[in-house]
Symmetry: C2
Subunit: 189 residues, 2 copies
């Protein structure tokens, strides 16, 4: 790895964070907007990322590895699948802003190829957890794992947005997401 000075790496992180935050709320935001949010001159931003594309790709990779970090911390390969899933959902809600940014990307897959991102094989994936839960008999086996994964993202995103718009308080979000994810909306006995 290139040994980057502390200052530089701090600036880079600030820019990436600002990019995710701003773009999560408005994909059409200008580089000036992002630079402002990062408390940095536009010229500085350009010094770190020549292209807008490069910045976006870097922000995606950054957000993705942050989410991966969260997933790792959730240790979703440990314990009962339903409990692991709750931990995962809480972790995703925590990473809400980054997730919202990623969720907005029309074709993540394509961007990831360009950015040469490959997931850490040591971090167990969401699909694995879903399949495990189905095998253990706690998750509905009649739903395709890919669909369930999509639902996870959609609900997490919705939770973040509800928080943004003030419809849910911070502490209510994870609860609402988990409850809806697990039991849907029908009355529970």
């Amino acid at each position: 790895m290139s040994p980057e000075s502390g200052t530089r790496s701090r600036t880079r992180r600030a820019i990436l964070a600002a990019a995710a935050a701003v773009l999560a709320r408005d994909r059409a935001a200008t580089l000036a907007d992002i630079a402002d949010a990062a408390d940095v001159a536009r010229s500085t931003l350009h010094r770190y990322f020549t292209d807008r594309d490069e910045l976006v790709r870097a922000a995606i990779v950054d957000s993705l590895s942050m989410v991966e970090e969260q997933q790792k911390a959730a240790a979703i390969d440990q314990g009962p699948a339903d409990e692991a899933m709750r931990r995962l959902l809480v972790a995703m809600v925590d990473a809400g802003e980054r997730l919202a940014f990623l969720f907005a990307d029309p074709d993540l897959a394509k961007t990831l190829d360009q950015a040469k991102w490959d997931p850490d094989p040591a971090v167990p994936g969401t699909l694995d957890l879903i399949r495990r839960g189905q095998a253990e008999g706690v998750f509905d086996p009649g739903q395709k794992p890919e669909w369930v994964q999509r639902v996870i993202w959609a609900l997490t995103y919705s939770g973040w947005e509800a928080g943004e718009k003030g419809e849910l308080a911070r502490h209510e979000i994870a609860g609402a997401v988990i409850r809806t994810f697990e039991a849907g909306t029908l009355t529970r006995p």
Copy 2:
């Protein structure tokens, strides 16, 4: 209303449909992209909508009234709330593309003000249905109606996207959405 010739109104509709379709998949699409998709010259598009903003607003209003149309057809004020909800979900999935376009808009509310849109008071709203269902005891009363409404949009959008990416076949979408919406992902007895 201005009596518009059949030709003109047909062209206008084609442009609006193309706009929704293209923008649902890529919000940053250019007017040239939209004109292409509508099989119309860019100059023609500009003849109908001077501004990009005007086009987008018109497309939003158009999509919205289409969705409203669907809701009306679903007659969600009739019969048991859970059945009405199923009809509503099917209707929304049917309007998938339009919904995806609307879902992508960061702040619908603001745009609607500008476009002077007001919902047809004769069409019962989603929130009413949710509240009715809670009162009837079929929907979980522990979830805020606004949240449930958000979930409806998110799931419908997810269904559309899953279809787009080939993860779900057309005929599977509504089923997956309804099932997840009603009962979540845990195993059902």
